[in-house]
């Protein structure tokens, strides 16, 4: 005998749904319009939704908190060229019936592209209808086509560009369409892109360049946001000094939290940097030992870092303290609140 879920009172439904995984809630929403309405009555409140869009697949993660670690899968849609008649079922996605199938022990919904060209929009509408809150939308784009198809969202706060052939105008257009961006992450090397001094990317609160290479110097020169992460950086001495000096003299970077540069830094480089900035040994008093690193950039988790071996510098006129922590493969400059 089945457990008659719909016959519980609303308060018990609320308790039950606290224990359902996002994937199960999504699957329930496909069972019937009545079940979807039941979910809507629960008034689920997600903090964020992350759409990973590839040419033939869309995955969605959701989180009840801002914490990166709390994200869990909601669903995956995969475009296929054929569906076995035996496995074919019809579900309503975003109010439209679509023919699809599900793999064994898998939450992947397989659909036929010719009949469902608007799968992303249907999925977006469907997921929007399940949440009472207006979660922030994050995009992880894996191809130029995924960038152009992403214009269906009302607002986007974070984007990760995971493909190589990305042009500067595409980035600027995306940022113009979605001006409320909190963070950007670039997988590709931006060296040859025509990112101007006044490009909107430098004003983003959180910026992570996974292949920063020669762009590192420009990033340090123009970045005015809160957190900058540079991987594979080709770092030169003067842009880093100038960046820290700008913060120290309060000429910019008023909101700076951290700059993390993943690069090889020789002992001579680090010694020269600390000398130039007149950095002080930590006295154990002026600031805490542990730094609460909170990058607020997609795919970058917050953590506590030990800064007992870091060197300190202070802003002019008795302003904030900042610390430089140098290791063989990484230089971090952080600001204490």
């Amino acid at each position: 005998m089945p457990l008659l879920l719909s016959q519980f009172p609303l308060l018990i439904h609320i308790e039950i749904f606290k224990h359902l995984e996002f994937e199960s809630i999504f699957m329930l929403s496909l069972c019937s319009e009545n079940t979807k309405r039941l979910i809507q009555r629960i008034r689920l409140k997600a903090k964020k939704l992350r759409y990973t869009i590839d040419d033939d697949q869309i995955s969605v993660l959701g989180g009840f908190t801002d914490d990166e670690r709390d994200l869990e899968s909601i669903t995956t849609l995969k475009c296929v060229t054929s569906i076995s008649r035996k496995k074919e079922i019809s579900v309503k996605l975003g109010g439209e019936p679509i023919k699809c199938s599900f793999g064994r022990n898998s939450h992947t919904l397989k659909y036929l592209e010719p009949e469902n060209e608007d799968a992303l929009e249907l999925l977006k509408n469907h997921i929007d209808s399940l949440f009472h809150s207006k979660p922030s939308i994050q995009l992880k784009l894996h191809s130029p086509d995924s960038l152009s198809s992403s214009d269906i969202f009302d607002d986007v706060t974070d984007t990760s560009f995971m493909f190589e052939n990305l042009d500067a105008s595409g980035i600027e257009e995306h940022l113009t369409n979605y001006p409320n961006h909190h963070s950007l992450e670039f997988f590709s090397d931006l060296t040859k892109r025509e990112l101007k001094q006044h490009s909107q990317i430098w004003e983003i609160e959180g910026l992570a360049l996974l292949g920063s290479y020669l762009t590192s110097s420009r990033a340090m020169k123009y970045f005015s946001g809160r957190c900058l992460i540079l991987h594979n950086a080709e770092i030169s001495y003067s842009p880093l000094i100038q960046m820290i000096r700008k913060w120290q003299k309060k000429d910019g970077l008023h909101n700076l939290h951290a700059v993390v540069i993943h690069t090889f830094a020789s002992d001579d480089f680090v010694d020269a940097l600390l000398d130039e900035l007149n950095a002080l040994d930590w006295d154990g008093i002026r600031r805490p030992k542990m730094f609460n690193y909170d990058p607020r950039i997609m795919n970058n988790s917050q953590c506590e870092s030990d800064f007992s071996d870091a060197y300190d510098i202070q802003q002019e006129d008795g302003g904030k303290w900042g610390s430089i922590l140098a290791a063989k493969d990484q230089i971090a400059f952080v600001v204490w609140d």
Partner: protein
């Protein structure tokens, strides 16, 4: 049926440390004894005890009738409360509730058929025992893991849209009480 639950060892210790015991009568007139620490897990029962002014002296002479819960469910509830009466409070973490794993003892206690589980959840809701509610709901949540819509329809008895429409039509076609 005499539904006097087995007295676990912890209850013996409880009697030694804290001799306050209460009597509860289920809707089908079965009598249960429950310790003070255990009964506090039920907000409804504890409020009732407080409002009735029951004390160590008069508690056993004044059994509490619970008309919405039958003996079978009450037995499970008393066992659960006695088992968990000394538990520490759960951490205040949003996702904790979704991540915790049901202990084996409780999984066995709640290995009952769906109709019984349905009734137990209603009883738990009435008696306001949050921990047992969480555990029952976890059992329901686990049923849904890795299931497709078709499988969920079977597990939770969910009609299709067509079946819902047919039910609605037949309900509106059927004559009312006046014929």
């Amino acid at each position: 049926m005499s539904v006097e639950p087995e007295v676990p060892i912890v209850q013996v210790e409880e009697v030694r440390e804290n001799p306050v015991l209460y009597k509860i009568i289920s809707s089908d007139n079965h009598v249960f004894t429950i310790s003070e620490h255990a009964v506090k897990l039920s907000k409804t029962l504890w409020d009732l005890i407080t409002n009735l002014g029951l004390t160590a002296e008069n508690a056993l002479d004044n059994p509490i009738p619970v008309e919405n819960v039958n003996g079978k469910n009450m037995e499970t509830i008393v066992q659960f409360c006695e088992r968990h009466k000394y538990d520490e409070e759960e951490p205040e973490y949003t996702n904790y509730i979704r991540e915790f794993v049901l202990p084996e003892w409780d999984r066995q206690l709640l290995s009952i058929d769906n109709e019984e589980l349905f009734q137990l959840i209603l009883a738990t809701n009435y008696l306001d025992i949050q921990k047992l509610m969480d555990y029952c709901c976890r059992v329901i949540g686990d049923m849904a893991k890795d299931k497709t819509p078709e499988e969920l329809r079977i597990i939770y008895g969910i009609p299709t849209d067509a079946e819902d429409d047919a039910l609605e039509r037949s309900a509106s076609d059927s004559p009312g009480p006046s014929g």
